[in-house]
Structure formats: structure tokens, C-alpha cells
């Protein structure tokens, strides 16, 4: 397990804090003195998963680097909703250039710090899936290939949300966007397209690659902390539901992320030097329909003319992930003997 499970402290490992734990065992987010890297007043939609994921990740990075951190941001929601000139929500050193060049700018910042001999200051590059998977991908691959000392974090909400929900290379099959409408024999986004950037990053054999979601804070914070223990190129892919683009209730952001993990559609794992070293196990596999049904982008699969055949194909993807990453290996049920 990447994270020490917390047993029998009234609530388990998934709550943010827990008054029964020692303060040093609690999450960064439970700390009343957390950085709040992304402060109140930002213009993200109600229930934004990306705003939450970015604060989780950067607060953890600030603690891991002893507050010696510079963040570089690609264009996208995260940049637009946080920093409409002259206001900003960022409470850390933060730099924005273009949509497609955030990995390259990060490389430059890291090189400048190296030239200045400031090995204590670390660099985080970040962007959405559009800026990472599509537009910034050449720069990202180059950053990996050169093994530049940058942690790059992709907040994946599976489409170009800032410009009005257009399909990206990360949009899943059958999902509707403005550019993949629910029409024709294969409604929504097509099967067999898109790309899995965590696996591509692993193929670069960089020191550290991990995935995480906003539904498991302790795991996400652990992975940021772990990433900061390496020098060289590192990649963290965070699954962040988008209430606007996915057509989910704003209160369901965490629940949807949890379902993505529990169905097997979003495997949570970490890899070092190209090898998977750990996966987050699924306690009980949930059918993909439970994940799809609450989302308006999959509405055409249910309702008056349902498409169980399409749901079955998505189920196959989940089942393959579970096989491929060994997500279901049973854990022994806790017993009374394990009491603290």
C-alpha cells in the first residue's frame, strides 16, 4: 500500500483529518495552516474538481519542498478561473505563458534555477488534459526525454472545458462533447481513440509516474510527496470530474471520482523507472453503469433508446484495466485482532 491504512479510528483512511490521529498523521488539507495555494474567490464553477485537485497537489508540494516551489501553468480553466488580470488566487510563485508550452517553460525555470545554484527550489508544471495530452504533448515528451527536473501534473477532466467542452485526446469513448454529439450509429466519442499519457510517460522510463483522484486525498498527497523525493522528470495524472462538462451535480464531484476508481475505469497506480510498483485496490467492483448513469455526457446510453451494447463495451475497458493492473486482488478482511 502506498498509504498506511488507518483502521478503527472511528473513520478510516478516506476522511481528510481525524481528531483521533496524531497531527503528523493527518493530511496536509486537515492542517489549519495549509498553504491554500489556490485561494478563495477563484471563478471555477460550483463543485470544480480541478480547483480542488490543484489545491490538494500544490499544498502537498509546498509542504514537501518546505515552501520552495515555483509553479508553471498552461492555458486552460485552471489559469483562466484563477488569474483574471490583475487579480490572482495563487498564493505561490506562479507563471503562465501559452497553452502548449508549459512543460518547456518549466524546463526553462528548472534550468535557470540550476544555473543560479538554487537546488532547494523545485518546479511544478501543470495543466489540463488539453494542454497536456494534445497541445503541449511535444513539449512534455521532450521534457521527459531530457529528464528535466520538473514534476508535471495533469488535471484530467477529459475535454476542453474552458472553451466550451470540446473533445480532447483524453475524452473517453461514447462521451458527448460539443464536437462529439450523440448522433449516428456510434454516438459520442469514438472507441479506440485518445491516449493514455501515464503509460506513455512510463515508456519514457522517467523516475516517477503516478495517477490519483480527488476522491482519495491521502493517496494524492502521498504521491506528490513521493514525487518530490526524486530528481528528474516526474508525471502525476489527477482525475478531476467536471460538473459543467460532464453534466453531473456539483455535489457529486468526489463521488463520481470514487466511482471511476471503483468501476476500474480509472486505474490508480504508481510506477518508478517504467515499472508499476503499486496499485490502489478496488474494495468491491462496481458496474460501469453506476458511474455512467449520473453523467449527462452519457445520457444517450440510457433512457428511452438505451445502448446496452455500448455500456458493455465500456465495461470491457474497465474489466481489462482490472486485469491489466491487478486491481481486484483480495485483501483479507480486517479482524478484531487488528484492533489498535
Amino acid at each position: 500500500m502506498p498509504v498506511q491504512p488507518i483502521k478503527f479510528y472511528q473513520s478510516g483512511s478516506f476522511v481528510v483529518g481525524n481528531r483521533l490521529l496524531d497531527p503528523d498523521q493527518r493530511s496536509v488539507q486537515a492542517d489549519p495552516n495549509r498553504t491554500n495555494s489556490l485561494n478563495s474567490g477563484h471563478r471555477a464553477c460550483q463543485g470544480c474538481g480541478e480547483a480542488l485537485g490543484a489545491r490538494y497537489a500544490l499544498d502537498a508540494a509546498m509542504r514537501a519542498t518546505n515552501n520552495q516551489l515555483i509553479a508553471v501553468n498552461a492555458t486552460g480553466c485552471l489559469e483562466v478561473f484563477s488569474t483574471p488580470y490583475p487579480e490572482t488566487s495563487w498564493q505561490i510563485p506562479w507563471l503562465h505563458s501559452l497553452f502548449g508550452n508549459a512543460p518547456a517553460v518549466s524546463t526553462g525555470v528548472a534550468a535557470a534555477l540550476k544555473a543560479k545554484g538554487r537546488t532547494d527550489v523545485r518546479v511544478v508544471g501543470q495543466g489540463g488534459d488539453g494542454g497536456t495530452v494534445d497541445i503541449g504533448f511535444a513539449c512534455l515528451s521532450g521534457m521527459f526525454e531530457r529528464n528535466d527536473d520538473v514534476l508535471y501534473i495533469c488535471y484530467d477532466n477529459e475535454a476542453y472545458m474552458n472553451t466550451g467542452v470540446q473533445r480532447s485526446g483524453s475524452t473517453p469513448p461514447a462521451a458527448t462533447t460539443m464536437t462529439t454529439q450523440a448522433v449516428g450509429p456510434e454516438p459520442g466519442n469514438r472507441f479506440g481513440q485518445g491516449k493514455n499519457v501515464p503509460l506513455i510517460a512510463m515508456a519514457h522510463e522517467i523516475p516517477y509516474v503516478a495517477t490519483a483522484t480527488v476522491a482519495d486525498l491521502r493517496d494524492l498527497e502521498y504521491k506528490v510527496r513521493r514525487a518530490m523525493e526524486f530528481r528528474g522528470a516526474r508525471y502525476l495524472h489527477v482525475f478531476v470530474p467536471c460538473p459543467l462538462g460532464w453534466g453531473t451535480a456539483s455535489c457529486d464531484t468526489i463521488r463520481i471520482a470514487r466511482l471511476a476508481v471503483h468501476t476500474g475505469l480509472f486505474p490508480v497506480f504508481e510506477a518508478e523507472h517504467g515499472e508499476v510498483v503499486d496499485v490502489t485496490r478496488i474494495p468491491r467492483q462496481v458496474p460501469v453503469a453506476e458511474y455512467l448513469r449520473p453523467q449527462r455526457r452519457y445520457r444517450h446510453l440510457f433512457g428511452a433508446s438505451p445502448r446496452p451494447d455500448v455500456v458493455a463495451r465500456i465495461q470491457q475497458i474497465a474489466d481489462r484495466n482490472i486485469r491489466r493492473f491487478g486491481l481486484l486482488a483480495a485483501e483479507p478482511a480486517p479482524t478484531a485482532q487488528e484492533a489498535p
Binding site: 473513520s11 476522511v15 483521533l20 486537515a30 487579480e87 490572482t88 455535489c251 468526489i254 489498535p340
Partner: protein, 541 residues
């Protein structure tokens, strides 16, 4: 201000942007009534004292029990634990072992000699309590802590009532009873034993009391007519248990038949086993699902070798035998005779057919009504006679110790108000924290710690206590299984999961507050609060 080249504006903060104006609904912290608290006949704040116990605050937890119930160690042994039946955790895995934790706290208090203070100023008012059972002692305890001067009068030669004379000591050791009763007396309650009150008004006026609480219980074994031969040996269960408690058990013989299906019948049959009976047969006229005895008592009796004959009545008793008639249930569930008879060997027949109230001490009191053998009282537990209150087994309610203790608590509050010339107003009842209000994903699986038990075989050889207590480690573990239904336990989920940093953490014990300047009303905090302590309310327009 000097700005760098090509910079015309200073960096502004997004705090200028009050996103709270987007909101159409606002989250609000609430407290709900935990189902255990709703179910507790003694009115304990169970969820509250488990919260205290979770971090090892045993003294605080015990004091919180004592605010409502002066008998934690007794409750931890003999309460039928309706709290655990109601516990939401039962739907998740198994109910929290509330009763075990309560017993641990009660035993810890006795071991450490914890006491409670009387903080109220003396009021100078005097109250007479008739009956030193659970209801009477509970009333005396609460009234004393409220500053009144209380005298308890009882016909018996030891205090405790049915806790001493009705409950066998294998369920409630006398040292525990003596310790918890003694703690009440040490508060300054005056106890007058061996004094039967025959006329309540006369007793009140002679003693110059301002109010009276009656709790004489239901002491008379209910009689049923059974044709019996001259040499048939028939006892009633109440007397049997009383004689056993006094250390003068009667000779029962080897084969004992107990007639009845309540908890007293179970106690009588189990006591008979301990007194040397090889066969203890309970004859009950209906079926198991209609039996008034608590399922745990029946299960323990069966485990000890007690046999139950369902759908049976005793139609005749003779020397050494009883004639039993088989019954069947009619459409209304009432047993009807079938005409089929069977003979059972029986050296003694014990009647456990319920108990009746001796209300003769109220005969001279004007305005007191007695209905179906029980004294009629209002919701304030006052009888028809002003200033004469009653509770426990003598009024219509469940006849359990816990209910009686609850009557004592309630009566004390009403008597206190009555003495001050006002009416006691209970706090408004909070909405119930149902299982559906919880988000149980956040609670780790954990099985109930099972109290160690004496081996079944060892159990029937004597009157030693058969259910052991929890040690500290397991009691702590058990307390932490509480889901804290409907009441914040400071898990930080709302604080950590707000995408807008709009939750303010107020520090240990002080919970949280919303920053409505920035809260957009997304509802994540409501959806992810494990215990259902946040709700959305429409924003005022």
C-alpha cells in the same frame, strides 16, 4: 508605488471576488438525534458519551452518563439495550457494543472511586420518595443534585428494589449494586429502610414533605387459577427470586416447571438450574415470536439447558406431575385450547405470570386513578393528586430497570419544576439521524468485540457473573466504532474538500463555520460529510 518595467498594476487578490453571491442554496451545520439516544429509555446522550470515550476521556464520558443515569455499571449488565437495536451501524456491519462500553465506564468509575458533585444551592424543599428501587433511587439522585432534600423510604431491609430482589446475582453482582447505590446515598440522600408506607398523604403530612414520588414497583406475583391437588407444590417467581436473593432458597426438587414467558420466567428457570434442578421446563402458551422475554435472555436460558414448551398451558397440578394442554393460535394470535393433554414430571411449579401493583397506599389520596392495575399519571408523571408523582413498574410502561431509571430522571425534572411553581419544558426534539443521512463509505469495516463469556457448562453451577467486561483497549476500539450519527466529529472532510476554501476550522472541540463570502453552494461538504451533520437550505432571496 514603484512597479517593475511594463507593469502598470499591482498584483490583486481574488479575495476581492465574493463568489458567495453565486449561491442559491447554503450549507448549514446541524445536529441530529442519534437513533441510540432516541431509543434510550433512560434518556442518555449515548452518542455524546461515546464521543468522549473515543479519545480516552473516560471520566468525561462517565460524567455525561451520570447526568442522566446514576447506574452505568448496572446498566452495562442488565439493560436490554434498545440503543443497540436502533444503532445505524447494525445496518452497516454490526451494532456498536454500547452496553459493553457503558459497563466498562461504570466499572472504571467504581474501581477509581469517581463521584459526582452537588453544585446546586440547597433549595430547602423536601421530597419523600417511596420505594428504593431503580425509579426511586434515580429520582432521589437527580433531585439531590438539583439541591432538594430527599428521603427514601422502603419496606425492605436493603435498597435496590427489583435490582436486588428480582434480578439474580449471576446477572447483577451485589457488589456492583451496592457500589452504585452507595454513591447515591453518599450525596446526602436519607434512606429509611424497613418502613412500609401505608398512606401516602399521611406520610407526606407527618414528615412535612413538599412533594412525593411513588415507586413501589409491582411486587405481587400474578395469580392464575390452576386446579391443584393438596400436595402440589406451587411457588410464585417473585417470591422465589426474593428468597434466593435473601440467601434462603427454597427446596425445588429435581424437576421444575416454570409457567410464563417473560423475563421473570427466564430468571426463575435459570435460578432453578443453579439451585440443582436437572430439568427446568418453561411452559408458555404462545409461540417464540410472541414471547415477552428478551431474546438474549431466552438464548442464554436455552444455552444453559432450560427447555421451553411452546403453545402450552398448565391445566392441573398434582404431586409430582402437571397436566399440560396444547394450544393453537387463532387468527388474532390468541391461544385457543386444542383438547390435547400431556403429563409432565414436576416437583415444583413456579408461576411467572406477571406482577401486580399494590396501590393501597394511594387509597386515601383523592383524585388518583388506577387503570388495569396501574396508577394513572400524566406526561409529567404526576398522579391525580397534586404533588404526588409516580413512576417505575407501578405506572403503565415497559417494566424494565432502564425504563424505571428514565422515569426517575423525568420525574425529578417535573418535581423540581413543580416545586418552583413552573412547568418543565423538555428541549425540542431534533430530527432523527437515519441511516440514509450517513455516508458510510468513510467508516472502516470493524466487527463488534464480543464480550467474553463463561463457558455454558460453568455457568449453571453457581451464581457468579456470566458476562465478562471489556478491557480498556477493546472498550476504546468499540467506542470508536460509533458512527457519530448526525453530529459532527471533526473529521475535516468539509474543511478539506471545499473547492473554495470556504470552510473555517475553529480548532479542536469547536468544529467549523462556513465562510459565506466565498461558499458557492456546490454541496460537496453535504455529500461527503460522513455523519450527515450538514444540510443544504434555500438561500434567502
Amino acid at each position: 508605488m514603484e512597479l517593475p518595467f511594463a507593469i502598470t498594476l499591482d498584483v490583486g487578490s481574488s479575495l476581492a471576488n465574493h463568489t458567495g453571491s453565486w449561491r442559491t442554496e447554503r450549507p448549514v451545520y446541524v445536529n441530529r438525534l442519534a437513533p441510540c439516544n432516541q431509543a434510550c429509555p433512560a434518556g442518555e446522550d449515548i452518542q455524546g458519551w461515546l464521543y468522549d470515550a473515543e479519545d480516552g476521556g473516560y471520566r468525561a464520558a462517565w460524567e455525561r452518563i451520570m447526568a442522566d443515569n446514576p447506574f452505568p455499571a448496572i446498566m452495562g449488565r442488565i439493560c436490554y439495550r434498545p440503543c443497540q437495536t436502533a444503532c445505524n451501524r447494525g445496518t452497516l456491519d454490526e451494532a456498536v457494543g454500547i452496553n459493553s462500553v457503558e459497563r466498562f465506564l461504570g466499572d472504571e468509575a467504581i474501581r477509581s472511586g469517581w463521584t459526582v458533585p452537588v453544585d446546586a444551592e440547597p433549595t430547602g424543599r423536601r421530597v419523600l420518595v417511596v420505594g428504593a428501587g431503580p425509579a426511586g433511587l434515580s429520582t432521589a439522585y437527580h433531585l439531590t443534585r438539583l439541591g432538594h432534600q430527599v428521603t427514601v423510604r422502603d419496606a425492605g431491609d436493603k435498597p435496590g428494589g427489583m435490582m436486588r430482589y428480582g434480578i439474580p446475582k449471576y446477572r447483577l453482582p451485589r457488589e456492583v449494586l451496592d457500589a452504585e447505590v452507595g454513591r447515591i446515598l453518599d450525596l446526602g440522600v436519607r434512606l429509611e429502610l424497613g418502613q412500609r408506607v401505608d398512606d401516602v398523604l399521611a406520610a407526606r403530612d407527618e414528615g412535612g414533605f413538599d412533594a412525593v414520588f411513588l415507586a413501589v414497583g409491582a411486587q405481587i406475583g400474578h395469580r392464575a387459577y390452576i386446579p391443584a391437588g393438596d400436595s402440589a407444590r406451587i411457588l410464585d417467581a417473585v417470591s422465589l427470586l426474593r428468597d434466593v436473593a435473601d440467601g434462603e432458597p427454597p427446596q425445588l426438587g429435581r424437576r421444575v416447571v416454570v409457567y410464563g414467558g417473560g423475563n421473570t420466567a427466564m430468571d426463575a428457570a435459570r435460578s432453578a438450574k443453579r439451585l440443582g434442578a436437572t430439568d427446568a421446563v418453561v411452559v408458555y402458551r404462545r409461540t417464540q415470536d410472541r414471547m415477552p422475554a428478551h431474546p438474549s435472555e431466552l438464548a442464554e436460558a436455552l444455552a444453559e439447558g432450560v427447555v421451553v414448551r411452546w403453545l402450552s398451558t398448565i391445566s392441573q397440578a398434582d404431586s409430582g406431575t402437571v397436566l399440560v394442554e396444547k394450544m393453537r393460535l387463532d387468527e388474532t394470535g390468541f391461544p385457543q385450547p386444542t383438547g390435547e393433554f400431556e403429563e409432565l414430571q414436576a416437583d415444583t411449579v413456579v408461576l411467572a405470570l406477571g406482577q401486580d401493583v399494590d396501590s393501597s397506599l394511594l387509597a386515601a389520596a383523592p383524585g388518583v386513578a388506577v387503570d388495569a392495575g396501574r396508577v394513572t399519571v400524566g406526561t409529567d408523571l404526576m398522579t391525580g393528586a397534586p404533588g404526588i408523582f409516580a413512576g417505575g413498574d407501578m405506572v403503565p410502561a415497559d417494566r424494565t430497570v432502564t425504563t424505571a431509571v428514565g422515569h426517575g430522571r423525568l420525574a425529578a425534572r417535573h418535581i423540581d419544576a413543580w416545586l418552583r411553581g413552573v412547568r418543565y419544558q423538555p428541549a425540542p426534539v431534533l430530527p432523527l439521524a437515519t441511516f440514509e443521512a450517513l455516508h458510510t463509505h468513510y467508516y472502516a469495516d470493524a466487527p463488534r468485540t464480543v464480550r467474553p463469556r463463561l463457558d455454558d457448562a460453568r455457568r449453571t453451577t453457581g451464581f457468579e457473573e456470566i458476562v465478562g467486561g471489556l478491557d480498556e483497549e477493546t472498550a476504546l476500539f468499540e467506542a470508536r466504532r460509533c458512527l457519530s450519527c448526525g453530529n459532527c466529529f471533526e473529521c475535516d472532510n468539509c474543511y478539506g474538500m471545499c473547492p473554495d476554501n470556504a470552510v473555517i476550522k475553529l480548532g479542536p472541540g469547536n468544529r467549523y463555520a462556513f465562510d459565506y463570502d466565498y461558499c458557492k453552494g456546490c454541496g460537496i461538504c453535504v455529500a461527503e460529510c460522513p455523519c450527515g451533520a450538514i444540510v443544504m437550505e434555500p438561500e434567502e432571496t
